[in-house]
Structure formats: C-alpha cells, structure tokens
C-alpha cells in the first residue's frame, strides 16, 4: 500500500465519504503547501491525544471534567440526557437549559445489538442518586422510535430514585436528528417538555 492508498482508505472510513470523495480529498491535500498539510496532521494528533469523554457526564472534553460539569452556576438538580456529545451544542444554542448534561453514548437499538449495558445508564442513575434534593431528569434523546424507546427505558430505571423524569416535547421533526434541528425548535421543545408516564 502506498501513502496515497493509505490515506484514501482512512478517509473512506469517515461517515458520508465514499471512495471517490476520499480520492478527491487526498489529491487536494497533495496540492496544498506542506505546512497546511502538517497543520492538519498535528490538529488530528492533538484531537486524539487531548479529547476524552468527561469523567462525569461523558461529554467530549479536553480536561478530566467538561466545562458544563465544573461551572458552579449551573443547576445541580436538573439533568439533561442526550444520545451524543454533539447534541449538547444544539441544546446549548437554544439557551433554555441551565442544568447538567449526561451523554448516553447512543440509543437502544435491538437490531444493532445496542442494549442498556452499552449505554451510560448506570452512571446516570448513580449521579441522580447522589443529589440530595429532588431532581428533574429531562430526556432529550432523538425523537425517533429508538430515542423514544430509550426514554421509556430510562423512565423505568430512574423510578426508584424518585426523580421527576420528563421528555422534551415534539415540535422537533419525528425521525429527525437533534443536531440538525434549529435553536428555536429545540428551545420550544425544551420549554414544553412533559412528565414521562409511569
């Protein structure tokens, strides 16, 4: 394998990039000045070395705890549960939520073999149990069938903690993806959240 083939193969593994696009990107990079390419390489290296899941919430962070977990102004009695780190950005932009986050790392999907033990659900329960006050857990998983089923599951698991479990309201396009929704829609959905059925 040549260096060109190697890069093609690596790029083609990225979501949304096929063989053709990978080849085009490789040749584009070959035409760039050397420092530009080296900057990209070192950025990737830094990314791999420095960014890890936050030890508390699972959000991607450059420090042991992410900024949302260390910010003393945020509300400790309110948790917002999301599927992926990238969903946090979308919710932050809406500016409606001021509590703590919890990243599950996916959603229940029987056909993909993703069960409760593959998600950070025990960690969530543990965090909720450690708060010495009434807690609200806002489940902001995607409004898909799997996201909805995950919300149902969480509601069951958290029952023993006494937390109030709410679900963000639709208004979000069903079948859609949180990271693609606009801030206004997410803001409204957050404001109109409902209590999960027991």
């Amino acid at each position: 394998m040549s260096a060109i083939d190697d890069l093609n193969a690596e790029l083609a593994k990225l979501p949304g990039i096929g063989r053709k696009t990978a080849t085009r990107l490789t040749y584009h990079l070959l035409k760039q000045p050397k420092p530009t390419v080296e900057r990209l390489a070192s950025t990737l290296r830094t990314l791999a070395e420095k960014v890890h899941p936050c030890q508390k919430c699972g959000n991607m962070s450059e420090s042991v705890l992410c900024p949302f977990c260390v910010d003393p102004r945020r509300d400790d009695t309110s948790f917002c549960v999301v599927e992926e780190s990238s969903d946090i950005d979308a919710i932050e932009k809406a500016g409606e939520f001021r509590g703590r986050y919890h990243v599950l790392g996916g959603r229940l999907s029987p056909l993909d073999g993703i069960g409760p033990e593959d998600l950070a659900i025990d960690a969530l329960k543990h965090r909720v149990e450690q708060v010495d006050a009434t807690v609200e857990v806002i489940v902001a998983t995607n409004p898909s069938m799997e996201g909805e089923a995950t919300a149902t599951y969480l509601s069951g698991v958290l029952k023993t903690t006494g937390a109030l479990v709410t679900r963000i309201a639709l208004g979000l396009p069903v079948g859609g993806d949180l990271q693609y929704a606009d801030a206004v829609t997410i803001g409204q959905a957050m404001a109109a959240r409902r209590k999960m059925p027991e």
Binding site: G18, P110, L111, M145, A149, A151, P173, G175, Y180
Partner: protein, 249 residues
C-alpha cells in the same frame, strides 16, 4: 426501471452517506427489499418520520432488475406505531420480528408473511402485562411457522412415529417433539402437557383466550424459542435483537 407501488412495513433503517438512509422493507408485492431513501436525513425531507422502524404505508419503489438496492421514491405512511416505543418488552419483540424477517425471508413475495407481521405488530401495540408475555411467545412461534421452520408437534421429529399424549421431550436439534424410543437415554427438556398444547396452538394459530404463565414457565418458553431459532434458523449466526429480548427478562 419500473415504478412499483406496494404496501410495505419498515423493518430497519440506517444512515447512508451524509443525508440518506438505507431502509429494509417487507413489501406485499416485492417481498424483502433494501431501498435507498435519498435525502431522508435532511431536516425537511419529504420522508419525515415515515421511515421509522415498524411504520407501515405505501412504498413507491423504483425497481431495477438484478439490483440489490432499489430507490424509494416516496413512502405514504398510514401507521406509525409509536406505541411500540412506549414499552421496553414491546419494542424488543417488534425488533425480533423485524430481525427474523430481515434474516430469513427473501425478495420472493410472501403475502401471508406480510399479513402476519402486520397483524402481530398491531397486536403488540396495545399489549401489556401478562398478555404481552404471552403475545410475545405466540408471535415468535407464529413467525417461525410463517418462515417455514415449524417444529414437529405430534409426529416424532426423528422418525415420524406418533408422540404419545401428555408431557413430551423436545429436541431442538431434531426440530420438535420426540417419541419415547427416540428420546431414550438422551438428556432432553421435558415439556409439560399444558405447555406442549400451547406451543401447538401457537404454531397452528388456533389459540383461544390467553393463558396466564407462571414466571418460570414464561422463561422456559423464551429459552426454548431462542434455542430453536438459533439452531434452525440462524445456524449459529448472531441474532442481536433476539439476544437483546432474551436478556431483558
């Protein structure tokens, strides 16, 4: 290329490229199909929520001969079945039914399989508690029958001789109940007469009324089903949704 419009049930879908989805459909007229729904991940896609698992409607499919992956032009949904997500067991069962269809049916039209999946998903939507436990076991034996793998019930699975009434030994390997001679000296699970009758009704679709299972009876049924499916249908291959369902209980 021909445009075919057919009733279809979404079995599974996953992201394809940046904005599209690949959707596995069970269709009435074209059997099992893989279609690409272009742009389905865009926020304002014409597909909207219609391609969620277990939803049903009219699929407009552009079919090219000898192509594995056809193109979905449109999907007019008439049932979303969101109720399936409202209960963990229901959601898992719907997943197992979809998985069995994906893995063990083909693009040969199989109208009876379609009608069966349609009616079982509708049934599961409103099923709770003890009824859901029974509905689940019933649905899976029924699906095994529709896919053509029904176990031997009254004739010995090994030599075809009649199996005596009452409790009877079940051999997963032989594919059903065994007569006393064939079971001699083998370590097999004995299925009590009542459960044997239940399996018979489930396979022949003749159950009237819903029996109430003890917790360990339900567990025994689930184990038997899972072993049977793994052995005869999957031949050792992985069945993620089935394992997920079994682990839930």
């Amino acid at each position: 290329m021909t445009l075919v419009t057919t009733p279809a049930i979404v079995l599974h879908s996953y992201r394809y490229g940046e904005t599209s989805k690949i959707v596995r459909l069970l269709t009435l007229d074209l059997g099992l199909q893989s279609v690409v729904a272009k742009g389905a991940m865009r926020p304002k896609s014409k597909f909207g929520a219609s391609l969620e698992a277990h939803s049903e409607g009219a699929a407009h499919i552009y079919v090219k001969p000898d192509r594995e992956l056809n193109t979905l032009g449109e999907f007019e949904v008439n049932q979303l079945r969101r109720e399936l997500a409202g209960n963990v067991e229901r959601f898992a069962l719907a997943g197992v039914l979809a998985e069995l269809v994906i893995k063990f049916s083909s693009s040969e039209p199989h109208p009876q399989l379609y009608v069966y999946l349609h009616s079982r998903l509708n049934q599961l939507c409103g099923s709770t508690g003890e009824q859901l436990v029974v509905d689940g076991i019933l649905s899976l034996w029924g699906m095994i029958r529709e896919l053509g793998y029904a176990p031997a019930l009254t004739e010995c699975a090994a030599d075809g001789r009649p199996v005596s009434e009452g409790d009877a030994p079940f051999s997963v390997k032989d594919g059903g109940f065994l007569c006393d001679d064939c079971a001699l000296g083998r370590r097999l699970s004995m299925v009590p007469a009542a459960d044997r009758r239940f399996i018979g009704h489930a396979i022949e679709d003749t159950l009237e009324g819903i029996p109430v299972f003890e917790e360990n009876t339900a567990a025994a049924h689930r184990r038997l089903l899972s072993r049977f499916i793994h052995y005869h249908l999957a031949e050792g291959r992985e069945l993620k949704a089935l394992d997920y369902w079994e682990a839930l209980n």
